[in-house]
Subunit: 445 residues, 2 copies
DNA sequence: TTCGCAACCGGTTGTTAC
DNA sequence: GTAACAACCGGTTGCGAA
């Protein structure tokens, strides 16, 4: 790891002074309050790596104290999650921390800069803590999962991520905002350790109706922004991979792994192929710093339908107020993601027209979960518009729309047919590209 | 078991002559073709019991051959299910047979009367084989379960119970009717053993979204009616309790039970509390005769909405025809359960409204794809309006509308014909221009 | 490639100790 | 009662044999 000057923080060790690599691109001193200009695009990837443990290496050649922040501020923050981490770790996967659904876990946030002792003059930052899926899941997949999960909750108000209102926590943070169902933002002072208590309200197995299968891994991601930053880009981003279990499932999982490890050992077969056993028991997990600060995390705000519309409105209103007080126009944009950044709301307006609208569910043949098509009018045109909007097929390029009845009869779709569909009728959708036009097939199921 | 004269049929043993207890209520000879009068209510419970094994005891004191049928005919039929039965059996539960979803199992039906050798002059009976829930589930619960299950099937056509079209089977049965999604009826001759092959398409775990829980036990029930019986009441009713598993789950379940039984035994603890171990391995299960012939089994026909309306209609029509030939008015009622006996439609009003509308599919001779004609009323006028709207033919210019039946018979279309069309009936449409008017031809296909 | 089968997976349930 | 924990449950997956 050439030239990397990274800080290692052992357990119980006081964070002291940290030295960062000098950026090859900009070698000037930047204070914590000097941020990236907006037009500064495509920063280089962080040139150093971290080990799979998520901790930082301590190179033998520590640079002197008077080195400065990395331009991006990457690496200057360190977060921990107070939960037992899995001892074993599959090859090709990062470490995994086990949580129980509905249980509170402490998350601590520290800023480890060399200037720590000097105290930053403007020392407030805003962090957003989120529950997201692994990066191999794209935006649509993530939203599909969240929608699926949300549709099966007892109450539509059920959030993915909650924060505890412990006094212990409120001494260190403020301006808490539930900016999405899976994201909470708050501000804290880099001169003091911040501590929050979070709980995750979904199970890793909640994203599929299949029984007896592994749950999906999730990530707790923390993005930290300059308080007055004009940029959409966080100063720092880190994550911790988690699995969420029922009841005391996290503890059982650890127990079972220990048992299995013991059985393996007693068999003498040191077949640790593909499994790395983390040596010592870890009561806390360090977040792993990410180098990609550009990717937009997927925020989930449920589809606001009738009664729920109002609630989402509240969130936005609240955010807007907050942000107005802060005076940052661009920050406002960030904290109020556009419809496209969120779960796209098909029913943006209107109340008197609602009775004419039809909500159809369609899914691909190969998929399990449906997409919702809200037809602004129960007509062929309305259907084509909805498909166009949802799947990016230009309306004018849709050559034919067929429907196939349950008996397999192929019919030209028309207004009349659509008018007689009921809300929540279900179809298999097939979009066939044919020359430079598309043929749409809705199969009734 | 005092005074019980029951027949025991061992494996491989030919059913020969059976002796039944003389009814204390009626000691007259009744032939198989003499049935209960309709006004004869509340028959006494069958005065004999069966052991939990579901087989019949063979009392040492067998009565002579010339004893006669029990008034109800109960006990004169014996059915077997060729599937391995669970070795263990929980206290308070009957025996349980394990099946795999989608796998075919043989069911044999025998009539064991003393007159067997004499051959019945009128020897046809109708049996209905059903998959139902245990008796502790009332009608509403059962329908709720079926609806839940049906709503999660890949195709709405998915039936609960299917019968194989093996030649081996068709030699012994006829007039097969799928009278409900969970019930199939057929006729057979009591002088010959009937053999059918059935498969169950639901899992015992399919009735709940909960993960990791026991599946619901089901019953295969067989009701046997006199072929010309005017009564709703079957001659005989028997059931076998089953659990349906995925893949080869039935075999695994048996294996696991054997393993556990072995472990218990090796521990020396003869703690058979609450568990009866069936001594020998049973490759087939005997159905257990039920004494309650009054209870109406719960038949499941899915909510008929638009497209599916017609399918249910077909079933009914078919049944009605069948029954008319048999001439039994009351049987007809039985095979055509009222809406209340079936899955009650939640959209009853909607159905009432849409009841009058008919959706027909028509295509040109040369085309492949159909157009939909929504008739606002099921009349000739409604048809002409729909054609006019769809193809721009002025209604007043339509001179004649013919229909051509499948046999090629040409008929003037009238209100009556149209009223009897079902949703999604299909036609070839031909519009012939003749002077300044048009002739329409609908050919049934 | 399929089949038989044991192991995996994790929600759920029952049992035992405090 | 409640907390800890092992066993149950059955769909699913992976592995070795035919």
């Amino acid at each position: 790891m050439p030239g990397a000057g990274l800080h290692y923080r052992g357990e119980g060790e006081e964070p002291t002074r940290v030295v960062y690599e000098q950026s090859p691109y900009e070698a000037t001193t930047v204070s914590h309050t000097t941020y990236l200009k907006e037009d500064q695009k495509s920063p280089p990837d962080s040139p150093y790596e971290e080990d799979t443990d998520g901790k930082y290496h301590s190179p033998s050649s520590l640079a002197p104290d008077d080195f400065l922040f990395h331009e991006e501020g990457v690496g200057s923050f360190q977060y921990t999650l107070d939960a037992t981490r899995s001892l074993r770790q599959k090859q090709g996967e990062g470490p995994m921390t086990y949580l129980n659904k509905g249980q509170f876990y402490a998350v601590t946030l520290n800023e480890l800069s060399a200037n720590k002792r000097l105290r930053h003059p403007i020392s407030k930052v805003r962090s957003v803590i989120m529950v997201v899926f692994s990066q191999d899941k794209n935006r649509d997949e993530q939203l599909k999962y969240w929608k699926y999960w949300h549709s099966r909750q007892h109450t539509a108000k059920q959030r993915v991520l909650d924060i505890a209102d412990y006094k212990e926590s409120f001494n260190t943070i403020s301006n808490i905002e539930e900016i999405a169902y899976n994201a909470i933002s708050f501000t804290w002072d880099v001169n003091e350790e911040a501590k929050i208590f979070i709980t995750v309200n979904c199970l890793s197995t909640d994203f599929s109706s299949q029984k007896g299968v592994k749950g999906l891994p999730l990530m707790i991601q923390i993005d930290t922004y300059s308080y007055n930053n004009r940029s959409n880009k966080p100063l720092h981003r880190a994550y911790s991979q988690i699995k969420v279990f029922c009841d005391k499932g996290a503890e059982r999982k650890i127990r079972d792994e220990e048992r299995k490890s013991f059985r393996k050992k007693s068999k003498g077969k040191d077949s640790n192929v593909g499994v790395i056993t983390v040596p010592k028991k870890t009561d806390a997990t360090f977040f792993k710093t990410m180098t990609d600060l550009e990717a937009q995390p997927v925020l989930f705000i449920p589809d606001v339908h009738f009664g729920t519309l109002q609630r989402a409105g509240q969130v936005f209103t609240f955010n807007t107020e907050e942000i107005d007080r802060e005076g940052g126009v661009l920050v406002k944009r960030m904290f109020r993601p556009s419809d496209e950044d969120l779960c796209p709301s098909p029913h943006k307006q209107i109340k008197e027209e609602t009775h004419k609208r039809v909500l159809l569910y369609v899914r691909k043949e190969t998929e399990e979960v449906f997409d919702a098509l809200m037809l602004k009018s129960p007509t062929l045109r309305g259907l084509m518009d909805a498909i166009s909007e949802k799947y990016g097929v230009p309306t004018e390029r849709i050559a034919k729309v067929y429907k196939k009845s349950k008996k397999g009869i192929l019919v030209n779709m028309d207004d009349n047919i659509i008018e007689h569909y009921s809300n929540e009728d279900t179809f298999i959708l097939n979009i066939e590209s044919c020359a430079d036009s598309f043929k749409i097939m809705l199969t009734e199921i």
